[in-house]
């Protein structure tokens, strides 16, 4: 899966689950998710579970941090680092 495809899947998940009605263009790769209030703590947990199941990685409790989950960019970079680390 390319990085772009991965970002698109994450974007679609966030739009459907947490921003119903929003246009995809308004959720940019660098839009802050945690610090803006788009994702609260419960929403982040659901997103983490989605990422684990969809991309086949295990997210440790301390990794579900603002640094790793504050934008589509940071989430995809995190997934890729986990996949590289695991292989």
């Amino acid at each position: 899966m390319t990085t772009e495809n991965m970002k698109e899947e994450i974007r679609q998940y966030i739009l459907t689950e947490f921003l119903p009605g929003e246009k995809a263009a308004n959720l940019r790769d660098d839009t802050p998710l945690r610090t803006s209030g788009i994702l609260d703590s419960v929403a982040t947990l659901r997103l983490v579970t989605f990422v684990e199941e969809r991309f086949g990685i295990q997210v440790e409790a301390h990794e579900a941090s603002v640094e790793n989950f504050d934008s589509i960019n940071s989430i995809s970079a995190f997934i890729e680092s986990k996949k590289t680390g695991a292989s």
């Binding site: 921003l19 803006s36 209030g37 788009i38 419960v42 579970t49 301390h62």
Partner: protein, 520 residues
């Protein structure tokens, strides 16, 4: 008659169990009973020297830790009332609250210097004072100065049961939070009821999951302190992380857990509870909102040993009814558990709109009387008068909750007739959310409704009419609300419309909006 005062609990435990641990942070920083009492005396000494007098209010804008706990007692030993606020809230909201009750001193974390201008006496809790933006015009004092101050020797005889102990602010329908004033008598009568029902001992370890501005914290703090038990303080971040929390509860051998159903559901769902040993856990208490039975069943399957109780009570009354939950929960059960029967220190009545008792089984509004019922809202006499009736010579508080009485199960919660909803245990006046939306320059009209949701409990839905040319995106709205409302009030759904539906008298037609949302 003995004086009912929360500080008496600490002082009695400090003399009975001076070397036992009173409170501990997750990083292991702890205070014994003797240390906690001594430090609280020093905080009181500092405050009294700074001019804080009996009946004054002192604000707390702090994350939860052993220092914040010390401050609660320090403030009360100075015979002042503490006013804890959500330290992560938007600055405007914090200022509104602390200005409303005119605090004479405020304790702030250095990351929240932006709200320190509400008082002339600002006490800063942080190691990084030099790096903080310390406006030179503020009279601020580092924490070290406070805890090095000569201890205050309180005149215990001067204490009064009706002294205000704390003020907790809840969502207000007009957009301005309102302060619920609670006295030592109110809190002590509730804590003493907890003694009777939960039989705590000095060997217990209580979780303190709720933030101090949330009324669940009263049980978490004062029941263990009364009995010489240990309070395990859980700060915000840990409290929201079910996986870390699951190992924390096991590792610290927590014996009494108390929280909203929301975090217990997350623990059952994401906590991987089968990985740990919870044999120490003897009681699980929940309150603040309805616990969906499916989630409760999942939790009780994973934690089968403790006794479970559903506690009910608005901030204004403390807990006033309760129901033990018999285990196991049958697979066939879908309806939520009742809120049960009145606690022994309270009386409950169900009245119709004419304030006449309903027949058993009929729906009506729940009224509560007793020593734990608050005396009023801070500086809001008309709103206070509106929630009380007098009956048989005593005041009864109208909870606004619609219930019916079942002869076997006690009171069953039915719902509300006003615009207040509960989410993650917090009260939200939908009017307060609307007020925040109206502060957005592009918004012409806004109406907020709620809708039940199987997983989230309730969702908050905003209908917005905005100027076409400058219509904000949903991401913009979410960010705007995050800057103007506490996180638990941030709406779930934003829907833009050309105009809002109106009734024949030109009022916003909320029923039409609810129908629109449900049929969409």
């Amino acid at each position: 008659m003995s004086i009912l005062h929360l500080c008496n609990y600490l002082e009695a435990s400090a003399s009975r169990f001076p070397e036992r641990q009173a409170a501990i942070d997750p990083d292991g920083a702890a205070l014994t009973y003797s240390e906690l009492n001594d430090r609280a005396n020093r905080v009181a000494g500092f405050l009294v020297d700074r001019g804080v007098r009996a009946g004054d209010r002192v604000g707390l804008v702090l994350p939860k830790n052993i220092h914040a706990l010390t401050i609660l007692f320090g403030v009360m030993k100075a015979r002042a009332a503490y006013v804890p606020v959500d330290w992560s809230s938007p600055a405007d909201r914090i200022r509104t609250i602390l200005s409303d009750c005119q605090v004479s001193a405020v304790f702030v974390d250095s990351r929240r210097f932006d709200v320190a201008d509400v008082s002339d006496t600002v006490i800063v809790l942080d190691q990084n004072l030099d790096e903080a933006r310390n406006p030179s015009e503020l009279k601020s004092f580092p924490w070290e100065t406070v805890v090095a101050h000569a201890p205050y020797s309180a005149d215990v005889e001067a204490r009064h049961s009706d002294d205000l102990a704390y003020i907790l602010y809840t969502s207000g329908s007009t957009g301005i939070p309102k302060g619920v004033m609670l006295s030592h008598r109110n809190a002590v009568s509730y804590v003493d009821w907890c003694t009777e029902v939960f039989q705590p001992t000095e060997f217990d370890r209580f979780s303190s999951h709720a933030p101090f501005h949330f009324d669940l914290s009263i049980l978490d703090i004062y029941v263990p302190i009364k009995h010489g038990a240990r309070v395990d303080l859980i700060p915000d971040e840990l409290g929201k992380s079910p996986r870390e929390l699951a190992s924390f509860i096991a590792a610290n051998k927590i014996t009494v857990w108390y929280s909203t159903p929301a975090i217990l559901s997350l623990l059952a769902e994401f906590g991987q509870l089968n990985k740990f040993d919870y044999s120490a856990l003897r009681i699980v208490l929940f309150a603040g909102e309805v616990f969906p039975v499916k989630q409760l069943r999942k939790l009780t399957t994973k934690w089968p040993s403790p006794a479970y109780y559903n506690l009910y009570g608005p901030t204004e009354t403390n807990v006033c009814t309760y129901a033990p939950i018999p285990l196991p929960i049958p697979e066939s059960r879908n309806e939520p558990y009742p809120i049960g029967w009145a606690c022994s220190h309270c009386k409950a009545l169900v009245l119709d709109p004419d304030k006449q008792p309903v027949s058993q089984g009929e729906e009506g509004l729940l009224y509560i009387s007793g020593p734990s019922v608050f005396s009023g809202y801070w500086a809001r006499p008309s709103e206070t008068a509106a929630v009380f009736i007098e009956r048989e010579g005593v005041p009864w508080y109208n909870t606004g909750d619609v219930v019916r009485e079942d002869p076997a199960d006690g009171f069953i919660y039915v719902g509300r007739r006003d615009r207040m909803v509960k989410r993650r245990g917090y009260r939200i006046e939908l009017g307060e959310v609307e007020s925040a939306l109206y502060r957005h320059p592009a918004i012409l009209e806004a109406a907020v409704i709620s809708s039940p949701h199987p997983e989230l409990g309730v969702r908050i839905i905003c209908y917005i009419a905005a100027q076409e040319i400058s219509r904000p995106s949903i991401v913009d709205m979410r960010t705007f609300c995050n800057d103007h409302l506490p996180a638990y009030m941030n709406p779930d759904v934003f829907i833009f419309v050309d105009s809002l539906p109106r009734t024949s008298t030109n009022k916003i037609n909320y029923q039409a909006l609810i129908q629109m949302f449900n049929s969409a």
